[in-house]
Symmetry: C2
Subunit: 272 residues, 2 copies
DNA sequence: ACCAAACTGCGTATACCGTCAGCAGTGCGT
DNA sequence: ACGCACTGCTGACGGTATACGCAGTTTGGT
């Protein structure tokens, strides 16, 4: 079964892996999927994912909107290519640090990548497929897990678990960062639309990192409606200021738990 | 700091928690945010998230598109309300099963919920905020973790970790299901757009559960481009047929690893 | 050298989409 | 009974993705 033809791929994945076949006749294409994706990434970096429209991408490249459709089937396909290209390159990881520390570095690097491109969080999960970009990261994860004597399936599961955690952790940090910016805007009387780069960095760093979630907890959670949560809340001491933003030296609770789980799994496996 | 006014909320979150203030004068509103969200959910259940447009939601309720804007600021706000309402209710969980089994049930129930509404995966992470629906689930998680003697922050982290895993696991299963449907469509010569419900259930169950990912691995991963991944692939025996779809009796590797990690964390905490 | 085929980019046109502004009707508070 | 607050709606606008077909360009075959 593993040797028979495994069937066809969705066209977007195929284009992702095979690229556009050159085409022997006709005028040399002045445009390419790579250049289109590149321009789309620039737009997203500047003004968020909503700024990525076929018209604007075309205009930025000096082409008409319809020109893009010769290299990209769909807008959806463009977003798929975009998402894969934005994955970037994984950092080299010294095997000497061991698999545990290696996976931690790997995960942190991915979180940093999302923090640099927060619009990745605006993409639906369904348009982040297994393209070359993401597989490069996966390859690096397998390099790190090379000394681990567990089935490939389990390694896949571990990488998937950590990759999923990346999204959750990045989301928390992006949201906390946005909440702080909102707070500064309100307190300094800046216009609600002021870009974050125009705000006072010192004020930003000093702003209380209340996330929306914490505000909701304090304001709406009562003993009748959400008893267990309320009970836990009562015994809750908010962390020190700045705790909402996990700096790279602090312990990431999520990574720690997952890696502890992996260790427990390996130990149990070795035993039985 | 924990007692001072924690500041304003984004308007969508506020509407989510406070609802629409009734309005004492003027005609009784014939429409409500709840009914709008309800109709939107029906549309999404039938034809996916793309079918949810202001015009279609209005038409389904027998109102004009603009009527919705009296109850919902934005389409984005509608999606936020939609996402929270679609969370549904968590099942009751017998405390006697213990926190570990309880969290497993909690997670599985959430995965099942997403499988019933696959369009939840099409929503960007950024429009799934902490509304009453999601907080009901969180409350249930805290009920399950009641016997655990760890800080509230850590319980939040655990719930977040599992909730994030829900998305990853549901995504894998949805994608595997879709791949099987594609395969059946191709083999039976059905039109590419045939809805899954019109396909032969027996053929669907028997279809090889190759995911796109596995096809990519077999077709494009070479020793030069992705050496570590290729090495692991060579030693890879694909699982038995049907393995792509995790039934509720099987072990979910992800849940297991996370819960093992939680246990390790608790043990270490008790020790030191 | 020539022509047909293949291929590119673009102009036009369509059908939506979300949403702003203003209007007519309704019913409570006074 | 009056006015005001509030409703839902009409009309319009700018933006969106994209189907279709045309004109121009390069190449392979003859």
């Amino acid at each position: 079964m593993s040797t028979e033809n495994p069937g066809a791929l969705p066209t977007s994945l195929q284009r992702l892996w095979e690229g556009t076949t050159p085409g022997r006749r006709g005028p040399k294409p002045a445009l390419s999927a790579e250049r289109i994706v590149e321009a789309a990434i620039e737009l997203a970096d500047e003004d968020g994912l909503a700024a990525v429209s076929m018209a604007r991408v075309g205009k930025r490249l000096g082409f008409s909107p319809m020109a893009l459709y010769r290299h990209v089937r769909d807008k959806e396909e463009l977003l798929v290519l975009l998402s894969d290209a934005a994955a970037g390159d994984p950092p080299p990881i010294d095997p000497a640090v061991g698999w545990r520390r290696g996976l931690e570095i790997w995960t942190r690097a991915q979180i940093d990548g999302v923090l640099e491109r927060p619009w990745l969080l605006e993409l639906p999960l369904s348009s982040t497929p297994f393209g070359p970009g993401r597989v490069r990261w996966l390859d690096r994860a397998f390099e790190v897990m090379r000394p681990l004597d567990i089935p490939t399936d389990d390694k896949l599961g571990i990488a998937g678990l950590l990759a999923q955690h990346v999204l959750g952790e990045a989301r928390v940090q992006v949201e906390s960062r946005r909440a702080a910016a909102d707070r500064v805007r309100r307190e300094t009387g800046a216009a609600p639309g002021t870009p974050e780069s125009d705000l006072d960095p010192a004020a930003l760093a000093a702003a209380d990192p209340y996330t929306d979630f914490e505000i909701v907890l304090q304001r709406y959670i009562g003993p009748d409606t959400y008893p267990s949560l309320f009970e836990a809340m009562s015994a809750w001491e908010p962390e020190a200021p700045g705790a909402g933003v996990t700096t790279s030296d602090e312990i990431d609770f999520g990574i720690m738990v997952i890696l502890d789980g992996v260790e427990a799994y390996i130990a149990r496996r070795r035993r039985g």
